[in-house]
Symmetry: C2
Subunit: 186 residues, 2 copies
């Protein structure tokens, strides 16, 4: 890591975490039983931006629950982290850490694309939502999705979208997502 | 514009245009009648990266064929251009210019998202494909799509996708795109 990046601090965040604190969670609160929020996601749990040290806290292993990850070295992780961090206002990887064991147990990525259309606006995509199996039933997937949606509004995106398998359509509909008029093609 | 960016040059490209010249178009050539390519797209036409001066060459007006654009000032265009340019390996806006009239008449955007998954790979999305009505029937939409696909391979993306309306599904199927197993939700 370059000194200018670590800057004598013990860790580096992918984005300025103050934006998370500023989210207005009031419209979501009543939908949680028991009540949790991004500032108090549960016992021993904290929600925050991805940090460089999350490589040691199992972030890459968590992603293997989603898809093929491969054998990513610390150096490769740092390089990718820095490349994302260098793209202003583009990558918001939010994680949940269980501080009692120092482990990342949930994550969502809000990837923002800068556009020329819509008055040089931007659009957001929810990507790579994952919660460790051992932490299911704690509303953390929902919490991560709500935070991603609130973040996209806070940033001023004109649209937020995601891609999901058939079986997850009803799940995402709960969050106000509707099947787009567009077809997704690969 | 900052001097460091313009650097005394008369214009600035969004990305290094040499990557376009390096594309291997041989697998596509036979699908064009008459034959055109990214290096010779037609009489008086050139294909190249978006440039700062394309604001004056009608780039924003071209985008109005797609969707709401709004009244974007030169300064707003430049700011957005610089923000995209500052994100390494992320925004490839390719345009076709009719040099006989100094006008941008076609464009495609390949937007690349950096990922941690898949060995810190990246995925590409084809966005904002547009050809001026007056230049229809010249295979330019197809050419822009082929170039976007070849670019995504050249960059090493593990996946390239796009979203399209129902009526365009057969069009994109010609290019090898298939309806994804995922649902697109907004």
């Amino acid at each position: 890591m370059s000194d200018s990046l670590t800057n004598g601090e013990s860790d580096v965040s992918l984005f300025d975490g103050s934006i998370l604190k500023e989210l207005d969670f009031s419209e979501c609160l009543a939908t949680y039983k028991p009540t949790i929020s991004h500032t108090s996601p549960g016992e021993n749990l904290i929600m925050r931006p991805l940090q460089l040290s999350d490589y040691e806290k199992g972030y890459m292993k968590l992603l293997t629950h989603l898809t093929v990850v491969g054998d990513v070295t610390k150096k490769e992780f740092e390089d990718r982290f820095c490349k994302m961090r260098g793209c202003a206002d583009s990558y918001y990887v939010v994680v949940v850490e269980d501080t009692s064991v120092g482990k990342v147990i949930g994550s969502v990525t809000l990837a923002v694309e800068q556009k020329f259309i819509r008055q040089c606006s931007s659009r957001a995509r929810v990507e790579d939502v994952v919660v460790d199996d051992e932490y299911r039933g704690k509303q953390l997937g929902k919490l991560l999705l709500d935070v991603a949606m609130l973040l996209s509004k806070k940033i001023g995106c004109y649209k937020v979208s995601l891609e999901c398998k058939d079986k997850l359509v009803p799940f995402y509909e709960q969050f106000g997502y509707v099947a787009g008029e567009q077809n997704y093609m690969v």
